[in-house]
Subunit: 354 residues, 5 copies
Amino acid sequence: MARFLKDRAKAKGLAPGSLVFIGKQKMDVPVIQLMQYDSENLSEEEFSSIEDVAKKIKPEGVNWINIYGIHDLEMMNNLGTQFNIPLLLLEDMLNTDQRPKYEDIEAHDAFILKMLQHEKPTDLIHAEQITIILGENYLLTLQEKRGDVFTHVRERIRKNKGRVRLNDNDYLAYALIDTIVDNYTILIENLGAKVEDLEDRIFSNQDTKIIEEIYRFKTELNYLRKTVRPVKEVIYALLKTENSYFQDKNKVFLKDLYDLVVQATDAIELYNSLVADQLNIYNTNANNRLNEVMKVLTIFASIFIPLTFIAGVYGMNFKYIPELDFKSSYPIFWGVVGVIIVGLLYFFKRKKWL
Amino acid sequence: MARFLKDRAKAKGLAPGSLVFIGKQKMDVPVIQLMQYDSENLSEEEFSSIEDVAKKIKPEGVNWINIYGIHDLEMMNNLGTQFNIPLLLLEDMLNTDQRPKYEDIEAHDAFILKMLQHEKPTDLIHAEQITIILGENYLLTLQEKRGDVFTHVRERIRKNKGRVRLNDNDYLAYALIDTIVDNYTILIENLGAKVEDLEDRIFSNQDTKIIEEIYRFKTELNYLRKTVRPVKEVIYALLKTENSYFQDKNKVFLKDLYDLVVQATDAIELYNSLVADQLNIYNTNANNRLNEVMKVLTIFASIFIPLTFIAGVYGMNFKYIPELDFKSSYPIFWGVVGVIIVGLLYFFKRKKWL
Amino acid sequence: MARFLKDRAKAKGLAPGSLVFIGKQKMDVPVIQLMQYDSENLSEEEFSSIEDVAKKIKPEGVNWINIYGIHDLEMMNNLGTQFNIPLLLLEDMLNTDQRPKYEDIEAHDAFILKMLQHEKPTDLIHAEQITIILGENYLLTLQEKRGDVFTHVRERIRKNKGRVRLNDNDYLAYALIDTIVDNYTILIENLGAKVEDLEDRIFSNQDTKIIEEIYRFKTELNYLRKTVRPVKEVIYALLKTENSYFQDKNKVFLKDLYDLVVQATDAIELYNSLVADQLNIYNTNANNRLNEVMKVLTIFASIFIPLTFIAGVYGMNFKYIPELDFKSSYPIFWGVVGVIIVGLLYFFKRKKWL
Amino acid sequence: MARFLKDRAKAKGLAPGSLVFIGKQKMDVPVIQLMQYDSENLSEEEFSSIEDVAKKIKPEGVNWINIYGIHDLEMMNNLGTQFNIPLLLLEDMLNTDQRPKYEDIEAHDAFILKMLQHEKPTDLIHAEQITIILGENYLLTLQEKRGDVFTHVRERIRKNKGRVRLNDNDYLAYALIDTIVDNYTILIENLGAKVEDLEDRIFSNQDTKIIEEIYRFKTELNYLRKTVRPVKEVIYALLKTENSYFQDKNKVFLKDLYDLVVQATDAIELYNSLVADQLNIYNTNANNRLNEVMKVLTIFASIFIPLTFIAGVYGMNFKYIPELDFKSSYPIFWGVVGVIIVGLLYFFKRKKWL
Amino acid sequence: MARFLKDRAKAKGLAPGSLVFIGKQKMDVPVIQLMQYDSENLSEEEFSSIEDVAKKIKPEGVNWINIYGIHDLEMMNNLGTQFNIPLLLLEDMLNTDQRPKYEDIEAHDAFILKMLQHEKPTDLIHAEQITIILGENYLLTLQEKRGDVFTHVRERIRKNKGRVRLNDNDYLAYALIDTIVDNYTILIENLGAKVEDLEDRIFSNQDTKIIEEIYRFKTELNYLRKTVRPVKEVIYALLKTENSYFQDKNKVFLKDLYDLVVQATDAIELYNSLVADQLNIYNTNANNRLNEVMKVLTIFASIFIPLTFIAGVYGMNFKYIPELDFKSSYPIFWGVVGVIIVGLLYFFKRKKWL
C-alpha cells in the first residue's frame, strides 16, 4: 500500500484551482471551534458554519478558529469567501499530500505542515496535514482528523500558563508550530533510541529479524526526512520575509525554532548513516559467519573424504590384494589414518583456519 | 535499444541552426489546429498551411495554434518566417532529444518540455517532446505525435470550466504546463506505489524476478529524473525573468507550479533511495539464506562423513581386524555413532548454528 | 542506551521558554565561582547565590563567573533576572542536548558548546555541555559537571602566563573556546591513531574483533562530527557579526580558531573515509579467504569422491564381476587412481586454483 | 600505460613560462594554413613560416590560420612574437594535458579544448588538444595532429552553406567550438547505446566478459567527464565576460552551446549511474546463482551422504550383525531409504529450496 | 604509526600563541641563507643569527632569506621580533601539522604550504611544511628539513634563466609556490600511472596482493587530497585579496597557478573514483571465481555421491539381496551409472553451469 504518496490521480484533468479533497476522510461532519482570549478573558465556542464563526471575530485579542474535517468542500468554499483565501491555497490545503510550505499571499501568512504520530496497528509513523493561516486579527488552523496536537497549547491558554495569553495571534501561531516541531524531535529520539539498541544485537545475535527492523528504520527515516526537511525551508522563508504578521519582538522565537528544526534534520541524517553503518557491519558479520561455517565443512570433509577412500580401497573384493593378508595391515592402516589427520590439521593450522 | 539518447549523429557536420528532425516521425501529414476564444466566443478550425492560420490570428482574445507533425521541415521553415521564430529555436524544437528549457528570445517565451506516458508494449515510460511558444497575441504548441495531453484543457475551454476562458494566452500556457507537470506526479506516484509493493516480497519471497523489477524501477527513476529535474530550472528561470509575457497576477500560479515540480523531484529522489535500500536488503537476505543453506550442508556432511568413514573401516577385508570378531562390536559401533552425533550436535548448538 | 539523544520527551507540552533541565544531574549543590583580575591583581571567591556574586562585579578588569550544577532551576531563574538573560537562552542552556550555537541577543554574546572527554568505564567519547556568556563587563561560564577543562586557563591566569592577564573578558572567552576546540583535535588525533593502527591487522589477521572496533570508530566519528561541525558555524557567525563584544584586535585569534575547527572537521571526514575504506578492504579480504577455503574443499572433494566411488564399485558383492578375478586388477586400480589424481590436479592447476 | 595523465615530469624544474612540448609528436613538419573569406570571396593557402602568414592577414573579412604540429618550439616562439601571445598561454598550449580553459588575456580570447575520437587499435576514446585564439581580425587554431574535426566547417565555408560566410571571426570560432562539442554528444550517445545494450545480457547471460565491459565503460565515462565538465565552465565564463570579441548578436549561439554542454554532462552522469546500477544488479544476480548452486549441492549431499552411511553400516564385516540374517532386511532398507528421501525433500520444500 | 596527524597533545594547555614545535626535529643547527639579486647582481651568504641577516637586507632588489631548522624556538622568537611577525603566525609555522593557509596579516603575505615527497624506506608520500612570508622588500622561506625543492629555482636565479631575475620578491614567491604545486602534479601523475597499471592485473590475475596496493593507493590519495585541496583555497584567497604584495602584472601567473591546482584536485578525485571502481570490479571478479569453484564442487559431488550410494548398497552384506545373484546385475549397474551421469550432466548443462 502506498504510504509515501496519496491518490493524486483523482485531481487529473481538473483545472488548476479546482477544489478536490485528496486524502482519506476521517470525520463525518466538520467541527468548527472558536477560542477567543486576551490576557484577561477567555471564551470557547463550537459552530457548524463558517459564516457564523466569521461574524464572531473581534478586532481585539486573539481569535483562534480551529476546523476539523476539511473534506467538506462547501465549507472550504465558504472559508475562501469569508476569509479571502485564494483558491490555489485552498487547493493545496485539500491535497493532504502537499509538501510543507509557507506563503505570504494576499494578507495571510499560510503554513502547510505535517503532524506526525505513530499509527495503529502497524506502529508506523504517519503524517496528518495541518494548515495554519495567520490573518490580521485571527488565526485559522485546519486539519482532517480530530487530533490531540493542540491539547497542550489549549491547556496553557486555559490555565494561563507561559507567555501565550500575553501575546497576539502571531505568538499563538508560533506556539502551535513549535509544538509540531517539538513532536518531531521526540519521534526522532524514539526512533534513534531503537536504532542505537540494534547495536548490541548486531554483534551478539544472528537473528535475521534484524534486517526487517533495519529496513523499517530506513523507511521511517526517509519518511521523517521527507516531512521535516521542507520545514527548515518554511521557517527560513518566514524569517527572511518582511511582509509577515510576525512581530519583530517574536522573531527571536522563530530563530530558536529554526535551530530546533536544524537539530532535527541533523539527527535524521545522523541516524540514517548509523543505520547504514549497521547494515554494512551486519553484512560483514554474516560473511564472517559464512567463512566460519565453510571452514568447519572444509576441515571435516577434507580429512574424512580421503580416509573413507582408503577404507574403501581395502573393502574391495579383488581376489589379489596383497595387503589384505598382511598381519600388520590393520594397525598400519590406523597409523596412516593418524598421519593424514595430523598432517591436515597442521596444514589447516598453518592456514590459520583453526 | 537506446532509450535515453536519440540519433543525434544525423545532425553531424551540419551548420548550427540547420533544420533537421532528430527523432521518429509519427504523423504522415502535419495537422494545424486553431482555437480562438474569449470569455464569450469560441471557434475551432483546422488548416493545412502555416500562412493560412497566421492570417486568422486576431489581436484580441486567445489564439491557440496547435501543430502535430513537426517533422515537416518546410512547414517549420514557414513557421519561422511567419512567427519570427529564430532558427536556433526551430533547431531545438526539431531535436526531440532536447533538454527541457525556457528561453525568452526575440519577443517570445519559448518552452521545450517533455510529455511522459507509458508506451506499448513494454509499458516503459516514454517522453514526447512538446514546444510551447507564447507570443504577444497567440500561443503555439508543437509536437510530433497526436496525443491526448491537451484533451482535458480543451474540454475546460469548450465547457467554459475553471478560469481558462476568463484569462489570456499566458494563462493558457500555464494551464498546459500545469497539465504536463501534473501528469509527471501521477506517473511518479504509480511507480512509487509499485516500489512500495516490493517491500513485502523482499522479505517473504526469494524470487529472482524481483531483481529485474528493481533494475527496471531504477532505470525508470533515472529516466524520470532526467526529464523532470530540468523543468525545475525552467519554471525558476521563468519566475525570475522580467521580460516574459506572463502577467504579474498569474505569477502566483507559476509559484504553485514550481512547488509541484519540487515535490515531484523530491519524490523521485525518495523512491530512488527506497529502491537502493531494497536492493541492499535483498542482498543481505540472500546472504542470510546462503548462510542457512551452508549450515545445513555443513551439519549433514560433518556428521555423516566421519560416520561413513568408520563404517568403511569395518567394511575392509583385512584378514586380521580383531574388532570384527568381538560379539559386542556392533552395538558398540552404534554407541560410538550416537556419541559422535550428540557431540557434533552439541558443538553446532554452541556455535548457534542450530 | 541512547547516547546520541537525550530525554527530550520531558519537555513535551511545556510552553516554549519554560525552564526544564534535560540531562543527567551530576552535582548535588551548585557551585558559583568568581575570578576577578587585571594585569596586576587577582582574586578568587566562591558563592552560593547568584545575587551575592552579581553585587561583586567590578566595572573594570575581568569578572569571570563560573557555575557548576545548572540543574538548579531556581538559581537559573535568578541568573536570568540578575544578568538579564532571556528565557529562551536559559531554556537552551538547560537542554544539555542543544546543538552548539552562537547568539548575540540582548547585549550578550552567548555560546553553547560541547566539551568532549572519554567516559568511564566504556571509554566512549562523551559530550558535556558548556555555555559561555560574554556580557559588557563579565564572562559567565556554566556547565552541569565539575570538570577540568578550564584548569589550564586558570593556571595561566594565576601564574600570569601568556596574554590572558593583559586582555579583557573577550580574550578570556576566546581562550576558553580555544581550549575546548584544542581538546577536540587531541581526541580526534587519538582516535585517528587507533584507526591508522587497524591498517596492519586488516591484512595480517583475520580476527573478527576488528569489526566491532571499526563499528565503534564509525560511531565515535559520527559523534565527533555531530559535535564539532556546528562549531564551525558558531565561529563563522561570530566572525561575521558586527555586534559582538569581541574587539577587533582579537578577531585575528578568532580567525585562527576558525582554521583550527576547519582542520578538525577535515580530519573527521578523512578518518571517516579511512574507516570506510578499511571496512571495504576487510570485506574483500574475507571474500578472498572464503574463496581459498572453498578451493581447498573443492580440490579435496573433487579428487576423492570419484575415487571412493570406484573403490565402492569393486566392494560390491555381485556374484559376477569379472574384474574381481583378474590378477592385475589391483595394480590397474591404483594406476587409474593415479591418472585421475594427476588429471584433476592438472585441471585445477590450469584453472589457477593451485 | 597512463592514459589519464601525460608526462608532465618533463617540465620539472623549468621556470614557469618556459616552452616545452608535453605530449606525443604526431607531425614531422608543421603545417600552416590560411583561409580568408568574406561573403563573396574565398582563398586558401599553405605556408611554412609564421612570419609569412602574419603578413597576409587582411584587416577586413575572416582570416583563419590553422596550424598542425605545435611541437615545433621555434615556430611557437615566432607565433608568440607575431601575434603578441603571452608566454604562459603558449606554455599551456604546448602542454597537451592542459585542463580545458578560457582566458581573455591581452587582446585575445583563448580557448584550450579537447577534441575526442576513438583511437586505433584499442577503440578507446582519446583526447587531442585544440587551441583556438580569437584576435581582433584573425582566428588561430592549433593542434598537434592533422585531424578532420574542421572538415565539415571548411566544407560549409567553401560551399557557402549556413551562416558562416556571412559572419565574422567570432562566429567562425563559435562554429568550431560547436563542432567539437557536438562531437562529444555523439560519442556519449554511442557509449550510452552500448551501456543500454548491456541491460539484457546482465539478466540472460552469466558471461564474465560483461565485467570487463562495465569497467571499460566506467573508465570511458570518467575520461569523458574529465574532458567535458570543464567545457561547461569555459562557455559559462565566456558568456559572463564583457571583454570578449564575441559580438552581442552571437551570444544567443553561445547560450545554445552552453545548453548543449549541460546536456552532455547530464548524460555522462546518467550513464555513470546506469553503469553503477548494472554492476550492482550483476553482483546480486551472481549471488543468486551462487545460492542456487549451493542449494543443489546441499540437497544432493544432504540426501545421499546419510544414505551412504547406512549402506556402509551393512557393508561392515562384523561377525555379529543380526540384521544381516533377517530375510526382510533388504526391502526394509529400501523402505528406510525411501522415508529418508521423502522426509528430506519435504524439509527442503518447506524451506522453499525446491 | 599515525601518519595523518602529528603529536598535537604536546601543545595541550598552553596559552594560544605560545611557541612550541610540533613535529620531528630534522636539523641539528638551523641554517640561515640570504640570496640577494636584481637583474644584474647576485650574492649568496650564510648566517647563524636572525639579527645578522636582518641588517643585510637592502631596500632594492630581491632579498630571499631561507631558513632550515625551525625547531629552534629562540631563533623563531628573534624572527618574530626582527620581522614583526605576529605570535599566532609563528605558532602556526611551528605546528608542522598546520592546514595549508594564506593570511595577509600586518604587512605580510604569509603562506603555509606542504612540500610532498616519497619517504624512505616505505616509499609513502610524506609532507614537509614550508612557510613563505612575503614582506615589503624581502621574502622569507622556512622549513625544518634541508630539502631540494628550491634547487631548481636557485639554479634559474644563478644562471639567470627565465623571468625570475627580472622580477621582484612577489614573482620569486610565485615561482616557489609554482614549484611546490608542480611537484604535486608529478606525484599525482606517478601514483595515477600505478593505479592505471592495476587495471590489467585485476582481470588476468587473482593475486591478493592487489588488495594491499588498492588500500595503499586509497590512503595515498586521501593524503594527497588533504594536502592539495586547501591549496586551492589558498590561491583563490590570494587572487581575491587586494592587500597583497603581489603586483597586478603578476596576477596572471597566479591565475595560471590556480588552474594548475584545480587540475591537480580534479586528478585526485578522478583517481579516487578509478580506484574505487577497481575495488568493486575486483570483488565482482572474486565472486565470479567463487561461483565457478562452487559449480565444480557441486557437479563432482552431485554426480558421484549418489553413485557411491548405489555402489554401497550392493556392498552390503545382507544375506538376501536378490540382485547379487543375477548374472546381468553388474552390466546393468554400469548402465544405471551411465544414465545418472548423462542425466545430471544434461541437468547442469540446462542450468548453464557447464
